[in-house]
């Protein structure tokens, strides 16, 4: 029997995980949407290269992604040094760094879901809007964006689920600091190293499964809505 008394430290872990994942998704939302839009709509030489680069975090060992973040955002990395010099900010060993790592790992999934929904938007409706006098930005704002919205949300929720589960890149980049970077998977891993923490492990494991399951379900429902090509009857 699992002991369901969640300790204050575990609540901290859960809260931190939610905070990190939410920040990761919010930060990556505009970036993944921009990538999705470019990949869905633009034609240019080197598109395949961009497509591959966006998907890289999906296949590269997460530890390698974490190491690359360390190189870029570490105190001596080009971006890390710049952030420190100009803003006095460092992401290393901070929850913000955990959010960055989780966000990078979630980026391919988010981009993919959004791209599919942008591709599903009927371009003929955009033509119709243009004949009615709508300029490019208005066509985007009133036709393409609302019609791809379910897919964008599905991508965001999927990204959230991915961020909740992020381990390898995070522990490499920001290590395991209780209250700062110890998210659910990292807490489970540390608990596994300690004798007698089996109850904590199962509690945290069940919580992560439930969180991921919920997020996946929501994402799937949204994706179906997007795939049906619209909410015309239900909105």
């Amino acid at each position: 029997m699992t002991d369901w008394n969640i300790s204050p430290e575990e609540w901290t872990v859960i809260g931190l995980s939610l905070k990190v994942s939410l920040a990761a998704v919010i930060a990556m939302l505009p970036i993944s949407f921009a990538f999705a839009w470019i990949l869905a709509r633009w034609r240019f030489p080197g598109k395949l290269l961009l497509d591959t680069a966006v998907h890289l975090p999906l296949v590269v060992p997460p530890v390698v992604t974490g190491w690359m973040l360390l190189l870029l955002f570490g105190a001596n990395g080009p971006i890390g040094r710049w952030l420190l010099d100009w803003f006095g900010v460092t992401l290393l060993f901070r929850w913000t760094g955990a959010a960055l790592a989780a966000g990078i790992m979630a980026l391919p999934l988010m981009t993919r879901a959004m791209r599919l929904s942008i591709e599903a938007v009927d371009r003929r409706l955009e033509d119709a809007a243009r004949t009615l006098g709508a300029g490019r930005f208005r066509v985007f704002r009133t036709i393409a964006l609302p019609l791809s919205l379910p897919g964008i949300l599905a991508g965001a929720v999927l990204g959230f689920a991915r961020a909740i589960g992020e381990f390898g890149a995070t522990i490499t980049f920001v290590s395991d600091i209780p209250g700062e970077t110890r998210t659910l998977p990292i807490a489970i891993y540390s608990a596994l190293q300690m004798p007698g923490a089996e109850a904590a492990v199962s509690r945290l494991a069940i919580i992560s499964v439930l969180l991921s399951l919920g997020a996946l379900l929501i994402s799937e429902l949204l994706a179906r809505k997007a795939g049906r090509g619209v909410h015309s009857h239900v909105l």
Binding site: A128, R130, L132
Partner: protein, 203 residues
């Protein structure tokens, strides 16, 4: 002159061309399916760029390859009624009608809705409309945008046969409520006669 059109475009191995100066308020382009009638409308609307030629509608030059003039679709002010209607599925009928509305010069919803017989549909979603209803809304949406001309692509093609006469009659009376000329594409000569249109055969 309502329409002065002289366009050519190479579409794969096929060449689509039309050269005609029309005087009438309603001009019917007639030809068998697949001859490129829709491509001609698209060239007039600015959705397809002709290889060469010119498009002048109601005295306004919209395209002229010699002068390198090509007004974007959004600035042509042509009310295009598509064969597949293309109502915006995420907007209610009212918001579809108002999408291109240019106050104060154009018709108001209060004037137009009874004329088209769609006043009772304003709060519906496009997905719930019948073919005939959707066609009326599509015509209304195009008229609301204060167009200099209407382009209609087989507007009766997916309408219940019993409703065809009604809609045809309504189209015939459009010039009474709005001074716009109509370029009407169909494969049915009878429709053109009933509209008392100037007939242009395309072969």
């Amino acid at each position: 002159m309502s329409f002065d059109i002289d366009v050519t475009v190479q579409h794969g191995r096929r060449r689509i061309a039309l050269s005609h100066r029309a005087q009438a308020r309603i001009v019917a382009l007639i030809g068998p399916s697949g001859i490129g009638k829709t491509s001609i409308l698209n060239m007039v609307a600015g959705l397809l760029k002709p290889d060469q030629g010119r498009v002048i509608v109601a005295g306004e030059t919209l395209f002229d390859s010699e002068r390198r003039l090509n007004r974007p679709s959004a600035q042509r002010r042509l009310g295009y009624v598509f064969q597949d209607r293309r109502l915006f599925p995420h907007l209610r009928v009212r918001d579809n009608l108002l999408y291109g509305h240019r106050p104060p010069s154009s018709l108001s919803l209060e004037d137009l809705a009874p004329f088209l017989g769609i006043a009772h549909l304003l709060d519906r979603w496009p997905g719930t409309l019948s073919g005939g209803e959707a066609q009326r809304v599509a015509i209304g949406r195009a008229l609301m945008s204060d167009p200099r001309a209407l382009l209609m692509d087989e507007p009766l093609s997916s309408v219940d046969p019993r409703r065809k006469a009604e809609i045809l009659d309504m189209i015939r009376h459009i010039p009474d409520i709005s001074q716009v000329p109509i370029l009407y594409v169909t494969h049915d000569l009878d429709e053109a006669h009933r509209l008392e249109a100037e007939i242009v055969m395309i072969e």
